[in-house]
Every structure is written in C-alpha cells, then in structure tokens.
Symmetry: C2
Subunit: 246 residues, 2 copies
Amino acid sequence: MIVRQAANVLEIMEFFAQTRKPATLAEIADHFGWPRSSTFNLLATLSEKGYLYEPRPRAGFYPTPRWLAMARMISEVEPLPPWTHTLIADLSAETGETASIVAPAGVSAVFIDVVESQAAIRYFATIGHRVPIHATASGRALLLQYSPEERDSVYRKIEFKQYGPSTPISIEAVEAELRNSISRGYCQSFADYSRDLAGAAIPLPIGDRRLSVVVAGPEFRIGPKVAEVAALIARTVDRLRPKTAA
Amino acid sequence: MIVRQAANVLEIMEFFAQTRKPATLAEIADHFGWPRSSTFNLLATLSEKGYLYEPRPRAGFYPTPRWLAMARMISEVEPLPPWTHTLIADLSAETGETASIVAPAGVSAVFIDVVESQAAIRYFATIGHRVPIHATASGRALLLQYSPEERDSVYRKIEFKQYGPSTPISIEAVEAELRNSISRGYCQSFADYSRDLAGAAIPLPIGDRRLSVVVAGPEFRIGPKVAEVAALIARTVDRLRPKTAA
DNA sequence: GGAAAATGTACATATATGTGAATTTATCTG
DNA sequence: CAGATAAATTCACATATATGTACATTTTCC
C-alpha cells in the first residue's frame, strides 16, 4: 500500500526542485489537481515543521535550507569514495553515454550516482532512479554478488513482467542470463526493461557494499560496441580503484 | 490540521540524520512506537519513490543521495549571499553566543542559517527552527520591515499566548514594543518566548527579501550587554555588507 | 473606489487509510 | 538440522483523515 500523503510530500519537494521558485497554495493545488483544503493542510504541516517558509510576503511558499542541512547530515555517512565519481565521469566522457553507480533496494536497483551523457539523444537517469533488478544490466551485476539463497529470496518477490521482447520472465531465464554474464565477463541488457535502451555493467563491491557500474544509452549507439564498452569499464575501474585492500 | 503521514516522512528523515546509519523496519517502528504494518507501508512508499534503499543485505534502509540532489536544486536558487554566513560566524565568534539569519513564515520566524555558540550553556537552535514572530527579537526585526497594513494582517492570525512574564499579549503591546525598538535602534527580547532566553536583533533587508540577524543566548550572559551586542551586530553588518546598492 | 475574482481558512462528514491479528519468511540456537 | 524465535508481509475492517462546501479575506480590474 502506498502512503498517499507521504508521496505527496516528495512530490511537492520535487515540484520545487523543478520550478525553483516560490509557489502559492493555489498554484500548488492546481498543479497537482489537489483540493485547496488538502493542499492547505499539507503546506501547513510542512511549514509547522520548519520545512517551508514564505521568502517574501504574498509570494507563496518555498523550502527552507533545512532540507539541505538534513540531506547533508544523511549523506556525510559512508559517502561513496571520490574515485567512484571520477569513474563514471571518465566513463561518460569517453563513451559519450550516461554512466551510473547502482545499489540494490529489494527487487529494484537504485541509481546512487549519475553522470549524464551530453548527447541530444541519451539515457535520461537521475539519482534515485529505480529499475527492476533482474531486467537490467546494472541490476544483474548486483545479483551476481548475491549468494544463491539470497537470490532466491529476491526472486520470490519479483513480479515478472514482459517489459520488452527480451525481458527474462522466469527465475530460470534470469539465472541463465547470469551464467552468460559470468562467462562473458560483464552484464548486458538490450531493451530488457526500457525500449531502445541498452547497457553494459559490471559488479563493483566496495567494502561490504554491493554496488555496480553501468554505462547505458540508446541501443543503436551502444549495441555495436557493448563488449568494447564493458572492457573500458573494467579497465577504468582497474585504473582508478585504490590498490590497497579490496 | 496536521497531516500525519507527511509529518512522519520528516520524522523518519530526521531520525536518519541523527543516527546516521541504516535502520531496519523493526528498529524504526520501535523507535517511533509505530505499528510495524504502518511502518512497512511508509518505508515501502519512500523506497518506491527512490528515497530509500538497502545499502547492504538485511541491514535495513537508508536514504539515497536523492535527498541531497533535491535539496541542492532547491537551495541553489537565491542562496543567501555568502557574507551573511560570515556575518553570523563572526558574531558568534565575537560574542560566544548563537547567531542566526531569520526569515518570516506567516506568524512565525524561521531560522534559515545558524552558527551555534560553543558554550556549554547555549541557545540551541537549528536551521528550520520556528519561533513566534511577535514574541522574539528576531521576529520583531522582521515586523519592522512590514507596512502597518501587512502587520495588521499578521496580527489577526496570531494566537496571543503568555509564553513568559514579558510576552506581549495584545496587538497594542506588540506595536508599543516595535516603537521602543525603533527609538532604541534594535530589537530585544528577554524571555518573551523562551524561559531564560534573551536576544538582540536588527532588520537585514537583502534585495526584496525581509530578513533579520539575531544574537541570542542565556539571559544572564546576554542581559547585561544587549546594547553592546546590538551595536556589534550593526557594526559587523556595516563592515561585511557590500557597499554597492542595497 | 467599489465590485468581482481569486486566494486562503474552518469544519462536518463520507470514505480512503492505518492498523491489529494472522500468515509467511528469515534467523538464531542447541 | 530441527524447532523456536523474531522479522517482514498481507488483509479485512473500524476509524482517523482528506475533502466538499461555506465563509473570510485579499487582490485585481474597471
């Protein structure tokens, strides 16, 4: 069950992150199609808690810097080592595609750092983006780091859907693809989840965290050179990852 | 009316900002005294939206860097000019007390930047902290920048409460204090709102934004030297504020 | 300067939602 | 490796909650 008002908080914040300017109650209510009275309650709650204020009279609400302060607190812990950002920055620069660091979240894989391609046609992904763990290169690079039992427990929660022609729609199909990935030396995906989207990924264990790196873009650009891209990823990781310990 | 689940989202994030480590469903539920099933729904919603993930298997949830990305977006707009932070940093260093930049939010004043005192006994305030606009030095320094009509409209929404012995409990009392502040050259408050708390504040208009600076601390330390502190604030603003235009 | 339009606020009520109990899944212990 | 214990999910139902309606206030426009 989805908690509506919790989701609404996030939506409001995303709204402000997009528009980047104060908005009145009426504007917000209209934008989302919410009743004024409900919007009123939500804004009042957020204000009450110190997360919204009124920068100038009658110009509406805007988030306080408290969000930033809180987010900084949260993200200071176990930040990714700096070289991982260099990694995806380099990969994106060299391939011209979008590169990301990905972490597990139940049956999904979450993008926790992203450097976007500069190309006009590109894979558009942002931090926080979620994709099915079994139907993407990045997700499978995570699954490779699981024990068979752990994978089983994930599989049982997956709702297998035919996202595209090549989506694996059974446990056995996923396991088969994982075996292929091992012998191939990297994970790949061709429109398994998103139409026209292809990617290459490899596991990226850091400490006891199970992460993966992925380079993804339109099938017609990535397709012909997956192997090449995968090799580049591996080389770049080798170059940047500190040699001391794992 | 307060929107419970909206508030809960904020509480969860504050919880993570404090503990700074992943937490399981059970831990979170116990911490807040929430039913597990409700906690489950909330966590599922936040995960679904890409704001929580599971850094390592079975170790529970933690916020994704998406919070940081969003907060950065939001705060990049009209950030406070850098000299305002220098201002409160200097004030806090010189007085040994907590110094803040404050903005209006309806009948409240919100702390939008804070440098805390290092003293053992100190005014504990964080970004996002809210205080009644009429019963605090910082708030009254905001009201001074309003037109009489605007003040009226604020007054009508205020619930006058006797927070302390000297709290102004009528419109006339507030207006009188504002007149005093003008002739005095600064705003002050002695336990008008919080017991033992005293402060000195002056208006700090920046562009068309109505802000104020306040230095606050325990009454016994601030009390004897309010005038001195107020003069210091004024001098420091003079020194740091760029001379070009207002 | 006055009327109309837009915005913000309060409240009772129907209903969407949170929750207790039951069920399943994972983890620990001897 | 059972059996026990704890954690995570599911689900039906009572109730806390979102909203329609009405009212107040502010702003706009003529």
